[in-house]
């Protein structure tokens, strides 16, 4: 009965989304205002029902109810509880249910807390949100029902892909989903503003927390995904330009641009058309990414629920949503006036450069990801990898990061060169000194060399806005910006250092052999079998020592899961403040020696520390914006109340 209850809730939620769409959009027409009052309650109840439906599925997974097809296909009674729960969204149907759940909860939140926008724009926004959601409800109910029963339950489930049985990955997809869905909310705001011709600073302010939230989750999701690929795949790399990675990077690039242009629109009423454009693009990129990953149209190491029929469904949703939004934008282009003017040397000017560069990088990544698909139509097979992506993205990214270092020092609207000349000269000198120093002292490639110089400029430049300010009175949003920009510098430094200075050893070792890698020496002590709850493994004991330091014992494993049978490599990592030793155990050769791969990766962890700092910046900014809103609202109710008292007294 539990599964049927979940399905009923889902159908009811879909029906309420239909009501929300009709009430929201018809309520805009004169004579139909009566309907409009239904919009907010419909959004709220829909959120509740969808949440209940999702929790129902969680319960089914927790109890390993094998009469439900999805549970039987993706779970197993021997699996640890946390992975049973994460199995709920570790598959196509469950993840789509999570998607609509997050989406409807976001809709419910907008309906209950957003008070800044004109009521008509709110109605249109909620209507647009219901429209997008309905597409996904249809997808779930007609093409991927998560609650489908099996006529005869199997005795045991089919397990979960063991690669995905990892705590990092259990929370990586939902994090990205929250990001994607947040962008769908921004998209709804854009459509609402276009429908009612209200592309105003208030629209940007209402949309901004959602973009910030989405961007924050995407940042976390990408950082976690990169770390997962690094330690779980056993290849020692942190970014592969795989289509699946690009699918999450593209919405992030668009969201980063949108975040910055929304700030300009909110503060200065400029870049209206550009903000609208980015709002549409950011959501398109989430959908394009989902489509590329799910349809199996591109071959990827992450092969995930490949099904052309589902691909067709997502493609149809993509075409309908994006096609209609762009067409709406085109017909309303005349009403999205240009907004305020500004000079090139101004905060807006720097943000425009940032936006153009981010869009260019987005274009480069999109082209590289889709290029094999394009040539395949002409029967030519190519694969596009780091030799294209690394230099071509760097051409735009490195200058953009230089602008990032000085942009926040500039004033809005227009600034004088004389005022910012000295900080700019100082940053330029710093960059050149680092460039010359690294080039003289070591023999590194061009990209990491430039990376070091730009990282130094960004690290120092990002702190300059703090100069001369009272740190205790600095707005949280400004703190957020400083922390995020500083994180960019940290991450860039980590990337440059790892690329320039990592050392790798691939050896066949006997027990007792000592292997030198970078400043480390490692001695293979033993290899012995061990057993876990649903796997067995060969585990090596390797004593590693940094320089003359103390010995540490590490235990890399070659692990075999038995349901379904899969081999994974559990690498062991020894982390120091200045980098990581990465040890992976491979096969045994015929002569009894063990294949070992060791990397010394200087400062590689700084890449993810940087990612976390960027996300922390997002948290601070979001907190700052929300607290300011709450305070302002409280003040205005207070003023209204006093005015009311005064009127009564009069």
């Amino acid at each position: 009965m539990i599964a049927e209850f979940g399905l009923v809730c889902l159908w009811l939620a879909a029906a309420l989304a239909g009501l929300q769409l009709v009430a929201g959009l018809l309520g805009l027409k004169s004579g139909w205002e009566g309907l409009a009052v239904l919009t907010r309650p419909a959004a709220l109840v829909q959120a509740l029902l969808c949440l209940v439906s999702f929790l129902t599925l969680v319960v089914l997974f927790a109890r390993t109810d094998l009469s439900v097809a999805l549970v039987a296909a993706n779970s197993h009674s021997a699996k640890p509880m946390v992975f049973k729960l994460s199995g709920t969204w570790g598959n196509h149907e469950g993840s789509m249910l999570l998607w609509v759940t997050v989406m409807s909860v976001a809709g419910g939140l907008i309906a209950s807390v957003e008070r800044r926008l004109p009521e008509r724009t709110m109605l249109a926004t909620l209507g647009a949100q219901a429209f997008v959601a309905l597409g996904f409800y249809a997808f779930l109910l007609f093409a991927s029902n998560p609650f489908e029963r099996l006529p005869s339950p199997p005795p045991e489930g089919n397990g979960l892909n063991p690669l995905l049985q990892d705590i990092g990955l259990a929370f990586h997809p939902p994090t990205l989903y929250v990001g994607y869905v947040g962008l769908s909310v921004a998209f709804s705001f854009v459509v609402g503003a276009l429908l009612t011709r209200q592309v105003t600073p208030d629209f940007a302010k209402a949309m901004r927390p959602w973009v910030l939230g989405a961007w924050l989750f995407l940042t976390l999701g990408i950082t976690a995904g990169s770390y997962w690929a690094y330690y779980e795949l056993g290849w020692g790399g942190w970014w592969f330009w795989d289509p699946t990675e690009n699918a999450s990077l593209m919405p992030w690039l668009a969201a980063t641009a949108l975040l910055h242009s929304a700030s300009v629109l909110a503060a200065r009423d400029a870049l209206r058309a550009w903000t609208v454009m980015l709002g549409v693009i950011a959501f398109s990129m989430s959908m394009v990414g989902t489509f590329l990953v799910r349809s199996g149209i591109l071959t990827s190491v992450h092969a995930f629920a490949v099904d052309p029929e589902r691909g067709g469904f997502i493609l149809a949703l993509l075409a309908i949503n994006i096609g209609m939004a762009l067409a709406l934008f085109a017909t309303r282009a005349g009403t999205v006036a240009e907004g305020e003017r500004f000079s090139v040397l101004s905060r807006e000017g720097a943000l425009v450069i940032n936006n153009v560069a981010l869009s260019a990088i987005l274009g480069v990544v999109l082209l590289g990801t889709l290029y094999p698909l394009l040539t395949e139509a002409f029967d030519v097979r190519v694969s596009v990898g780091p030799p294209y992506f690394n230099p071509v993205t760097a051409i735009f990214a490195l200058p953009m990061l230089l602008v990032l270092a000085v942009g926040p020092l500039l004033r809005w609207r227009g600034d004088k060169l004389a005022r910012v000349r000295w900080p700019m000269v100082a940053l330029a000198v710093l960059g050149l000194v680092v460039l010359a120093g690294v080039a003289l002292l070591s023999d590194v490639g061009l990209l990491p060399l430039l990376g070091f110089a730009v990282a130094a400029v960004v690290l120092v430049g990002s702190l300059l806005p703090l100069k001369g300010r009272n740190l205790l009175r600095l707005p949280l949003a400004t703190w957020g910006m400083v922390v995020a920009h500083f994180g960019v510098g940290i991450a860039l430094f980590g990337m440059a250092a790892d690329t320039a200075f990592q050392t790798e050893r691939l050896v066949a070792a006997n027990v007792g052999d000592v292997i030198e890698v970078g400043p480390w020496s490692a001695r293979l002590e033993s290899v012995a079998p061990v057993a876990g709850p649903n796997w067995t493994a060969l585990e090596a004991a390797i004593a590693v020592r940094h320089g003359d330091g103390a010995e540490t014992l590490t235990h890399p494993q070659a692990r075999s899961f038995w349901s379904p049978p899969t081999e994974t490599s559990e690498v062991s990592l020894v982390t120091r403040w200045n980098g990581q030793l990465y040890v992976a155990l491979g096969d045994q050769a015929q002569d009894g020696r063990w294949q070992l791969r060791l990397w010394w990766k200087p400062f590689v962890t700084w890449i993810w520390y940087g990612g976390l700092l960027i996300a922390l910046g997002g948290v601070l900014a979001l907190l700052g914006r929300v607290l300011t809103d709450v305070r302002r609202r409280r003040a205005s109710t207070l003023i209204a109340a006093r005015r009311g008292d005064a009127e009564v007294a009069a």
Partner: protein, 178 residues
């Protein structure tokens, strides 16, 4: 504002074109096989020892003796190889000369395999580390190559030979000069 409008309609058109491409690619059957880049080229030099007693091994020189042949890449441990055995038999009875490369195999297993499924091969070379297999651009078992009398690879068939493939392979052999 006219320029913005023009740009936007252009973007709508570009998106539709892109979605069209997606739809087209989605409707295409996904081809998971990678054709060998060696088709049309001379087979690389190799000399494989006999994989089983009683039959000669295989070298690249054997493939340039003027008679076109089928080269079957197979293994006794490979399930689809069992499926294609009757078709190889039919081809051999139809007059085709078939030689084989046995991948990572053992003589006793091969003897068992031939006892059960018959042996259509006139020579079987042992490729213990897949070196020859990789050099001719074969990525799995079974695969069958048509090699002409000069030792040039003319055609590659990936996967097991099913009954409907027999005429095609015969035609390819004809083209190669049989």
């Amino acid at each position: 504002m006219n320029r913005l409008r023009l740009f936007l309609w252009g973007l709508v058109a570009a998106c539709l074109a892109l979605f069209g491409l997606f739809a087209y690619q989605l409707s295409q059957p996904k081809d998971e096989f990678i054709q060998s880049a060696m088709v049309g080229k001379t087979i690389p030099q190799f000399d494989l020892r006999p994989a089983i007693e009683g039959l000669p091994g295989l070298s690249s020189a054997d493939l340039a003796d003027g008679r076109p042949k089928l080269v079957n890449v197979f293994a006794s441990w490979c399930i689809p190889c069992r499926v294609e055995a009757p078709q190889l038999d039919a081809l051999q009875r139809g007059g085709a000369e078939i030689v084989a490369i046995a991948i990572r195999d053992r003589p006793e297993d091969l003897a068992q395999f031939f006892a059960t499924y018959g042996n259509p091969f006139s020579a079987v070379g042992a490729d213990d580390v897949s070196a020859v297999q990789l050099s001719i651009g074969s990525s799995g078992v079974p695969e069958t190559f048509v090699v002409d009398g000069q030792g040039v690879i003319r055609y590659q068939h990936i996967g097991e030979i099913r009954p409907e493939h027999v005429p095609l392979l015969q035609a390819k052999l004809q083209e190669a000069g049989a």
